[in-house]
């Protein structure tokens, strides 16, 4: 599992922003970019979760079950057998009347935080964060950009743009690569 500080350190290292006394990007900004990159995994890759639910009605709030809105509910199981007749609508799971004390719900949830990420996806988040950081600098312009370009060996702004695009493309490729089969989601 990843630590946010470790991820930020990797982002800085890749961006060559390692002068502690004069960082180009504030740490809080890089943390925000990492958070955004984690959320950008959501449309393609998530984490599979299984939750035991006590039977106390016909309708259940999915956020209460999974802790966040799932990308997909894959199955409802009763005594290890696939149940039928359930459906998802909006934020609710509708199971009808069940004659058991508890049942299991399996679903795919979006990652919420870098601390949840397996190492393979940490790489993707580092790449996307670098892309966002360079993009931010390019959009903002000014002295910070000038200084960075000089520090990087007299780079041109369009070269930096190319690098930002390259990191983003890499992120998209990683994201697709780790979307397991048609079911999506990584088993944990």
């Amino acid at each position: 599992m990843s630590e946010l500080a470790q991820v930020v350190s990797r982002i800085r290292s890749r961006l060559q922003d390692t002068d502690r006394s004069n960082y180009v990007w504030p740490t809080t900004l890089l943390e925000d970019f990492a958070g955004e990159a984690v959320r950008r995994l959501g449309p393609v890759v998530g984490v599979r979760k299984r939750v035991e639910v006590t039977n106390d009605g016909e309708t259940y709030d999915l956020v209460t079950i999974f802790g966040s809105r799932p990308l997909e509910v894959e199955a409802v199981l009763i005594d290890y057998h696939m149940a039928t007749g359930w459906r998802v609508y909006g934020n609710e799971l509708l199971v009808g009347q069940l004659s058991v004390d508890a049942f299991e719900v399996r679903g795919v949830c979006a990652y919420q935080d870098v601390t949840e990420l397996p190492a393979v996806l940490e790489d993707a988040v580092v790449l996307e964060s670098c892309s966002k950081a360079l993009d931010y600098l390019l959009r903002r312009g000014g002295r910070a950009l000038e200084r960075y370009l000089i520090d990087q060996g007299e780079l041109e702004a369009n070269e930096l743009r190319g690098l930002a695009d390259y990191y983003h493309e890499e992120f998209l490729a990683y994201r697709e690569e780790w979307a397991v089969g048609t079911m999506r989601g990584l088993d944990t």
Binding site: R69, Y89, G141
Partner: protein, 205 residues
């Protein structure tokens, strides 16, 4: 974790940075709600409501924000139905003797976010950045279209900025919004779109 209006505003301010002082919170909030409305052409909200069919009636008006009915059901059996001109039309009288409450599940426009900062955004956490991108795009668009704001921007940034640069930024953020808007679609939304094209309905109708 649930994304709130305050979370989204904080992210917007992070991107606007020095120039965030040029915008009122109320203005940013209004753009967030506009972003929600702009989401509807590609991603609709799953909603439900109850409508009452009068005794002896064979039709009932649908909620104003209904775009497409997915299901209609009541405690008893309903005649088959179709949707036309903002109403649910039944093939027969629903109940000759008494009014009937019908639950309608439908796809509709997104409701504006609650007026307090702590209420959850109606989008999932992984979808909510779409509103950040839209709001930032609108902020730059305003700077690009108002000369006074443009001068204030140039002063705050303390550098020479062409109007074209700000227009380009607005367009870039807008493009980010468009891309994120498409990615925000869920698998169920795609299923609904398929049903709509094929003219079929979910099971049970």
């Amino acid at each position: 974790m649930t994304t709130t209006r305050e979370d989204i505003r904080d992210r917007v301010n992070m991107y606007l940075d020095d120039i965030s002082t040029l915008f009122e919170s109320a203005e940013l909030d209004a753009w967030m709600n506009e972003g929600l409305r702009r989401l509807s052409p590609v991603l609709l909200a799953e909603k439900n409501d109850q409508v009452e069919v009068a005794a002896g009636a064979d039709s009932v008006s649908l909620p104003d924000d209904c775009v497409y009915v997915l299901r209609a059901y009541a405690d008893g059996e309903l005649p088959s139905w179709r949707e036309h001109g903002g109403a649910l039309l039944f093939s027969d009288v629903v109940n000759e003797g008494a009014a009937t409450t019908v639950t309608v599940e439908y796809l509709g426009g997104w409701d504006a976010m609650a007026a307090d900062d702590a209420s959850p955004c109606p989008l999932a956490d992984w979808q909510a950045d779409v509103l950040v991108f839209y709001t930032v795009a609108r902020a730059f668009r305003r700077l690009a279209t108002n000369r006074a704001d443009y001068r204030r921007y140039a002063t705050v940034m303390n550098n020479q900025v062409d109007l074209e640069d700000i227009e380009r930024l607005a367009a870039t953020w807008q493009a980010d919004f468009e891309a994120a808007r498409l990615e925000a679609r869920t698998r169920r939304q795609l299923l609904y779109e398929g049903q709509r094209v094929a003219g079929s309905r979910p099971e049970g109708e």
